[in-house]
Symmetry: C2
Subunit: 477 residues, 2 copies
């Protein structure tokens, strides 16, 4: 692996200054120009696929099938954001004509427009070297909004990051846009990220990564003389509630599906299911847990992204295993380059009382929490507090119990599934990727799907504005 | 004045627990039920006007004309929020049907709904004893969203707060809603507010007040084990850019209008104009400043809300006056019960270099900043950083200079005016009351107008949800 050289303070400053210099022209550019940029970026990624995928595989060991699929997803979302921008929908204005007379009924003419917030610092993730890295979802959303982006490359895939950054800069130039529309800095040290977040010309931050790293940078954003929005997508345990009825009907197939979701990408997905809630003393539930343990024992995940993530997984698994009241359901197996999947079990009271069990273990591990009642299920979900997803199997019927369950899931999650598994996050207008803390630092926003653009468009009300201005802002596409 | 007794920790806990107990039923109630509550609250305020307005006047000294108008505004916005809820608009869902096939194009069925966030702690403001107090805009928005509210009454008007809180509790009971839908605590000490923000069952905070108090509580919200959204509307200097053309055409009338805005409510409006940017060496601008000084000298503001605000104004005015490079344009006059309005002047370089000049002085004071060029105007606006409003007089024509000016104003403000004065904030769908820090802690949200509801509705994506659930969430009205 190539190690990163830290960008120097003057390189970081230059990248941010270039972004700030481009912000006005790009922020007021026609939607068509931004859509053309996003489409050209997608085209360039595809044109260089034969070079990029092997580079990504060399650095991440995720394999060509996954990486080709991920590149497809990346170009899909770049083009999807292009379509959004071209449609003008994200820039729709609210217009309230003047009403004559005294307030409160009388009022001036007000037009609520949306203004690009300015240069965005984007922290690339390790686990999606294309889709949440240099030209991933956050970059696409910020560029769609009209914001220049300064990417902080992830040290897990430095050569790929440099290749994609070079591609992006070339496309920006070909589109005759200011070079500062896209910039990239790199560094494995904390200082690079901190100086980027502290830079007075940065207007917002997008981050995907660990709770520890994300919280540290979120504190930096809040400690600025002028705090700025920090959109962090952090840890998530993604509970799956498997009701007896679903398991009685289809337990064996669901066990295979869930084992696949837990081990997908060696568990290095932000939506990897880390908590499984089943009913205690139910035959179908017991059989399901046994089938799941067997499937996990048989799974052979690929190696983790890098040694640091592997060490974190081993420590996290060790931590869970060491807690009182926790049993290990998977048989010990020799870990070689890749870790083996783990399944643990505990009861509701133990889970609720012990914060160490509620934290995400990033990797292929899942904790079964056995509950005796709906009330215990609700209490376990409440203890989770914040998660990207909650999955409910067997809650399709309109019953009072299911309504309570749905309500509890909605209270703690950004996405509630009634079928399938939480891994795999569709890029659509209705997607919501971000739930209450710690899964997101801004649970009212999403980092996947087209509403992600909203994070970079600040509302401004124009009062009694001249017609040319209303026209200019209202037809941004 | 009646002094407040601090609510005890157990009273605060009981109020929050009652709100949390009501959250599920109220959060999933029909829009019609919430609309009925909001309308009944408006009706009750009007029915008790003859008792409430004198009580408010006794405690705030704002006078019956202003207070009757403010009560009208309060009932107007309660009914406006009721209309919004009844229309269903704030609960509109985004629905993406399933698409067959492999990802990224293939996708499950996703429905993005909006879920009431839970109990809201609402900190009443001193300067609007009706419209931003117990049943003010924040309370109306939270109730409209489906969130129970625990109000922290402002110690500046304790008797009025108790009377309005009693009225609200009575109406909640008459509407056959759980008592916890509305609660009120009181206290002049910091501890009451802090324990409310720290309470684990509080889901979001709305605050209108000073930078100092707001920042302290914002830090508390961020220091929780699970940080929550803190919607703070803090200080703002509301720059007015008066271009020579506007002053040449209409300077005398504008001076009278601006003096009225600066002294309105004795300057105790969050949108009170505190910075005036004029061109140096321009005859119309010089005449305008002189007319403004004369009008301010002639003004006789009423007394300020309480001794603490008065002391803060005197200290702030003293601070500005004492800075090097600042001259005082208003003649000294004896302050009695009420302060006299002040007008100061400085140049662009002095303003930009001295942070003490950029801070809000809450009260009837304005600082004239004389600029030599458009570039200096833009630099002064950039130094302001964040403001609820920027007013531009004389920027109606579509010229490159005016486009730059508008862009600079949009970058730092939540509302940009092209006529009139910033005091008076219309309650409409297109309103935006909240700009970059420090004017708001969440510049992407508004605390006035119907979009204020969005602060309390968290998006949740339902994946492959059963039909009954999509129906239930999609027709919340």
């Amino acid at each position: 692996m190539t190690s990163l050289t830290d960008s120097t303070p003057s390189q970081i400053d230059a990248a941010v200054r270039a972004a700030a210099a481009a912000a006005e022209a790009y922020g007021t550019s026609a939607g068509a120009a931004r859509a053309a940029l996003l489409r050209a970026l997608a085209d360039a990624l595809e044109a260089e696929r034969a070079m990029l995928v092997p580079l990504a595989d060399e650095e991440t060991r995720l394999g060509p099938a996954r990486l080709n699929g991920e590149l497809d997803r990346t170009t899909f979302q770049l083009r999807g954001f292009a379509d959004q921008v071209a449609s003008g929908a994200p820039f729709a204005v609210a217009d309230d004509p003047a009403v004559a007379g005294a307030p409160p009924a009388g009022r001036p003419h007000l037009t609520r427009v949306r203004v690009a917030v300015g240069p965005v610092a984007m922290f690339a993730a390790s686990n999606f070297p294309f889709a949440f890295s240099v030209l991933g979802g956050d970059t696409a959303a910020a560029l769609a909004a009209g914001c220049p982006v300064v990417v902080k490359a992830h040290p897990g895939h430095p050569k790929l990051s440099r290749a994609v950054a070079a591609l992006a800069s070339r496309v920006v130039q070909q589109q005759k846009l200011p070079a500062g529309v896209f910039g990239c800095v790199e560094g494995a040290s904390v200082e690079v990220g901190v100086s980027l977040v502290r830079h007075p010309l940065i207007a917002a931050v997008a981050f995907t990564g660990s709770v520890k790293g994300g919280v540290a940078l979120w504190k930096e954003a809040n400690a600025r003389a002028r705090p700025i929005p920090f959109y962090g997508e952090l840890g998530s345990t993604n509970p799956v509630v498997a009701l007896p009825s679903a398991l009685a009907a289809n337990g064996a197939a669901l066990a295979t599906t869930l084992a696949g979701s837990i081990t997908l990408g060696c568990g290095q997905f932000c939506t990897s299911p880390g908590v499984l809630i089943v009913r205690t003393g139910d035959a179908a539930s017991d059989a399901f847990v046994q089938q799941l343990a067997t499937a996990l024992e048989a799974a052979t995940p690929h190696a983790m992204l890098h040694a640091g993530i592997r060490a974190g997984f081993d420590a996290g698994a060790q931590r869970v295993q060491a807690q009182p009241g926790v049993t290990t359901l998977t048989a010990p197996a020799p870990s070689t380059d890749a870790p083996r999947a783990r399944l643990y079990a505990t009861d509701a009271a133990t889970f609720i009382a012990n914060h160490a069990l509620q934290e995400e273990v990033f990797g292929p591990a899942c904790l079964v929490v056995r509950v005796r009642s709906l009330d215990e299920t609700l209490a376990v979900l409440a203890a989770v507090q914040g998660s990207l997803t909650v999955t409910l199997w067997g809650a399709e019927a309109d019953t009072p119990d299911n309504r309570r369950l749905v309500r509890a899931a909605e209270q703690i999650a950004g996405r509630v599934l009634f079928a399938g598994v939480p891994t795999g996050v569709a890029v659509t207008a209705a997607q919501q990727h971000g739930g209450p803390w710690p899964s997101s630092t801004q649970a009212f926003t999403t980092s996947v799907g087209y509403a992600a653009i909203d994070r970079f468009l600040r509302p401004v009300a124009l009062q009694d504005a001249p017609g040319w201005l209303v026209d200019a802002r209202g037809v941004a596409a």
